[in-house]
Amino acid sequence: MKPSVWVRMDTWVRHLIPATATIFLLLLTVVPTRLTVFADIAPMLPLMGVYYWAIYRPDLLPAWLAFAIGLLGDIVGGTPLGANALVLLLVQGTAAAQRRFFLGKSFAVTWWAFGLLAAGAIALDWLLVTLIVGRVVDPAPVLFEYLMTLCCFPLLTWVLARTQMAFLLDV
């Protein structure tokens, strides 16, 4: 039996949640918090969103969406166009290709792997921006941004996991 229109629409809306949540994370990094700590450097929240969904629901956040979110980040953030897009695309590709390794593993393993992947991602971002701008970007804030991203990972994963449990458990 074919499901009714309402059921299908409900499923459709639920399937939009990973992308919407990641875009929301992107906008959240832009909000002026006016806290001294976050003023200069905000954690790379969209990176975590893309990583999480690439492992647990790669069907709902495919490569092209990661690319689009990265591009949106470049546009809103005023960074060179395409840099963030490429970084998020590669993060999605790598995480989705290795997702069998993560399923059923402990959280510490996921965190450790995120640390490796985020280091690669932020180093690539640094390299791209340096090449495009034509001057060496100060690496100290980049390192700080990386550490901050790493520290925020458990909290954000918890939030995303709750979101997945609430909306996407059986669709």
């Binding site: 003023a39 953030g77 695309l89 100060d138």
Partner: protein, 294 residues
């Protein structure tokens, strides 16, 4: 048997298509980097359009954030009430002395102006706008403002917070604009050391303290010197306070900006009727056009 091999082939084909799409996306990312580097008008217009479309959402998100920030700073202020009071009393005493000096100088200046028939500086027109986006990132320092071309904002205008220079307008949409802070890696501000009149270019590098480059004139710059804008290049009106020199060591001359980035909620976009720092909107110089005709 036949069916399963067909399914297998289909799966292989799908995998190949998937890989191909991935490679295409990566290639288009590189293509976009090239396009962006070439400074094409279309790229800038697209950026502006997207930011314009997002502006109402960002503004809605900025308001609760401002409320939270106000509450936290309120708690912080209460905790430091005594120390703050003592500091203010001391500062007040110092400023009172300055006030006496300033009054005397003001009277003197007025007399001199009258004797020399000085034409007074025009009063600037300004627009005050809310900060709706603060792009805290190691790769770029800019802010989004909730005012655009319909409010009279133009590219290159100086942006100030109180008396201090914050940056300039880099992109303008209909209802939003991008403010490039003086600390951004792309920011170049012609400045002058207030006491020695040494000219320099203040170059941002995405750190909190921009650097003084291309120093012309008396190179005796010391810690504590005030840095103000100069009229070089007719980009900014002269004399807007920018910051104070904080280090003169190995890393070059570093300037601590007066504007506190994390405290900015509203900024003023000031129009002095000057060309602005970005000459892109002007026609190309005559020489180049003539060269093409030949």
């Amino acid at each position: 048997m036949k069916q399963s091999s067909a399914a297998g082939r289909l799966a292989t084909l799908r995998l190949l298509a998937h890989r191909f799409a991935f490679l295409m996306l990566a290639a288009s990312a590189f293509a976009l980097m090239m396009l962006g580097k070439a400074d094409i008008v279309l790229v800038e217009q697209t950026r502006v359009l997207v930011v314009d479309a997002l502006a109402p959402m960002l503004e809605a998100m900025a308001r609760p954030a401002a409320t939270v920030a106000r509450v936290t700073s309120g708690v912080h202020e209460l905790a430091n009430l005594r120390a703050e009071n003592a500091r203010l009393r001391e500062e007040n005493a110092r400023l009172m002395r300055w006030q006496t000096v300033a009054r005397r100088l003001e009277a003197e200046t007025m007399v001199l102006h009258q004797q020399l028939n000085v034409v007074p500086d025009p009063d600037p027109a300004f627009v005050t706008a809310r900060v709706i986006g603060d792009l805290g990132s190691a790769f770029g320092h800019s802010m989004l403002l909730a005012a655009g071309s319909r409010d009279g904002v133009r590219k290159g205008q100086a942006v100030m917070s109180g008396e201090a220079l914050v940056g300039h307008i880099a992109e303008v949409g209909v209802r939003s604009s991008r403010l490039l802070l003086i600390t951004d890696i792309n920011a170049r501000i012609p400045v002058v050391i207030e006491s020695t009149r040494t000219r320099a270019i203040l170059t941002g590098d995405n750190s909190a303290r921009p650097r003084l480059n291309y120093i012309v004139g008396n190179p005796a710059i010391s810690v504590g010197d005030r840095v103000v804008t100069s009229s070089s290049g007719a980009a900014f009106p002269p004399g807007l306070p920018v910051g104070v020199v904080v280090s003169v060591g190995e890393g070059g001359y570093r300037v601590e900006p007066f504007a506190r980035r994390h405290q900015l909620e509203f900024v003023s976009i000031v129009d002095y009727g000057l060309g602005g720092i970005l000459p892109f909107e002007r026609a190309p110089p005559d020489r180049r056009r003539r060269g093409r005709e030949e």
